[in-house]
Amino acid sequence: MNAAFWGWLVLLFPLLGSVVIGLTFRVLPARAAGMIGVGAIVAAFACGIAATISLQGEPAESRHVADSLWQYASVGGFQIDLGIYVDPLSAFMVLVVTGVSSLIHIYSFSYMQSDQGYHRFFSYLNFFVFSMLLLVLAGNFVLLIVGWAFVGFASYALISYWYRRETATRAGMKAFVINVIGDIGLYIAAILIFRDLGVIDYGAVFEKAPEVFQTNEWSIVAICLCLLVGAFAKSAQMPFHTWLADAMEGPTPVSALIHAATMVTAGVYLVARAHPLFELAPAAADLTAIVGLVTLLIAGTIAIAVTDLKRIIAYSTMSQIGYMFVAVGIGAYSAGMFHLMTHAFFKALLFMAAGSIIAAMANNQNIDRMKGFGKAMPFTAAMLIIGALALSGFPGTSGWFSKDEILDFAAFRGGWYEIFVVGGFIGAFLTAIYSFRIVFRILPGPPCEETAHLIETGHVVHGEPVNPATGGREDTEVGFPGEEHHIAEQAPGMKIGMAVLGFLALVGGLLQIPGVDDVVTSFLEPTFEDSPLAATHPSVSSAWLGLAEGAVISIAGIALAWWLYVKRPTAPATIRRRFRLLYTLFVNKWYGDQIVDFLVVRPVKGVGSFADRIFEPFLINGLTGGTIATVRSAGGAVRELQSGMLRGYAFLMLSGIVAVALYFLIRSI
């Protein structure tokens, strides 16, 4: 049983789970559906481990398996196989995706308990995992696009999961539309690849690309730019970033799974997967890193200003993915993947803790209102602190090792790549401030109304169901949590999920300690061995130097946050007043939505209204109206023949037969 066999099983289980839950939602009790959902993902995780083990059994140079189930299409030399490609990179992604998904499924099993759409939720969630695994395991660009579009749909379905909430359906549409723009970039890239190389299988493409393309030739740069459009849209990088914050309308486990740990990192995976192409187009690779840097800075500043708990974490996600893009852009592939993994741990953990808090706040997400959670929910508070420490790169935690490894590599490449070091450290400073802004705002202090209720009665407040975005009252008849969540952090599923992730967020970095071990790098080495950059490593001493700098900056950021939000609670307001312009810019998210609105939405709307007022009535209606009139008069002409009389039809048929026979008789003469 080789790795490909296990790869197929990895795909099979979530698909099966999704279909079974989706089809049996009328008969299956909710708990059973949840168990099937959790079981399917755990089974996929087990198969992922089996695939990895069987892959490790191979010698390093042949550590990749391509396998095809059947031929999907074969037209004039264009051949698409329904094939998967298992190598260390995809195995790594499979492990991260299924592992984190398993924990989040366990968490959701409790978290969504009182929701009326429990079956629907797990069916969607399993479908998402299947799509993500398809994206990761795809053996060619066509299947990649299929998986890519599937996760786009799953994301749409899950953002709009509470479909009675108008803001949620709008956010879902926004995410879907922006993702489809990215899909189109991918389509064009796949078409260009096929045009220039004549193949679409990964192995064949990467083998042929260096023979066909010159370095930085315009056609390879175009391919990479189109790939980047897809990657940036999926991973919410500038200028396609506006959907991610709105995507927080979905249930919190969805935010944790899709919009933090897995789907949004697909763009990073794509760049890493297509690294042979990007190495032929250094211009595109540099652009990747620059966009990553810009996004990580801008998202960091926004995260400091906004007050919606989930949105802060969402902007932090954009910022962290910016680091990953910097990594894969400058050639630090394994460092980027390492950061992807640790980020999945601590960001999913932060979202889970946030979900627990939001449930206790009766769905209020404003951090200005939250107080005293340190006493009310000690377990959640501990998890939140662990997540924030890892996120801000506190020494010893996973984020410290992974983030600084990227920056070390940038420093190692030297030259103008130093700006990534500087920018990265500024971003790290911002990260430390905003993550501990959450901690210092929420945990200490006198309990607010909701937390007081929780401390006194042990139960969460049952508020009026309101829309956290608009404050409007909501119709909870369908597709909503029936009552509010009762569970806060008491439910065992939530505790297990958070505890395991908390542990991983703390110790996950130990996989890769400079000079001690490099588990991730050596595991991924067979995939990246053809890259000239992969073989080079910064020296151990410089790596430790970078880690030390990172530690200082992280602690400084945390200290500043402590000073701002605990020691001098009035300081933030003063700063806000003094830098009103800057603050307005940040809190309005650098006017990203408005810029997109002005540059894209308005012109498209203008074209639309032109089409509506001029084009449609005169041209289209004229054409269609004319066609209709023609058809109608012709129909009127032959209508008489449709007498409804059986014998009339028989007569017409006979006439035809006689005429045809006559024709043949005459021809034979």
Binding site: L641, S643, G644, M645, L646, R647, A650, L654
Partner: protein, 99 residues
């Protein structure tokens, strides 16, 4: 005895049946006329079977017989159903297909 005679006879029977389908309006009689057409076809099959000395044609005629029986059963079932529902037994009256 030349085979042409048989074939011409089969064509004649077929045409008579055809004319009947066209001019009669009682569904029972139309079914009868269809039987005539089928027997004309069967006769042609038997003639060619005899001509080539091959028994396949005969088996085919048996199949035609079966199909005719099935058609009769369904057709007459329809006639009886129409009669029960007081629908006039006249194919010209059933013109819901009129355009």
């Amino acid at each position: 005895m030349a085979i042409e005679w048989y074939l011409v006879l089969s064509a004649l029977l077929f045409s008579i049946g055809l004319a009947g389908v066209l001019i009669r309006r009682n569904p029972v009689v139309i079914l009868l006329c269809l039987e005539l057409m089928l027997s004309g076809g069967g006769l042609a099959l038997l003639s060619f079977s005899r001509l080539h000395g091959d028994g396949d044609g005969q088996v085919f005629v048996l199949m035609v017989l079966v199909v005719a029986a099935a058609e009769v059963v369904v057709g007459l079932g329809l006639v009886v159903a129409m009669f029960r529902r007081r629908i006039p037994l006249d194919v010209d009256e059933m013109k819901e297909l009129q355009g």
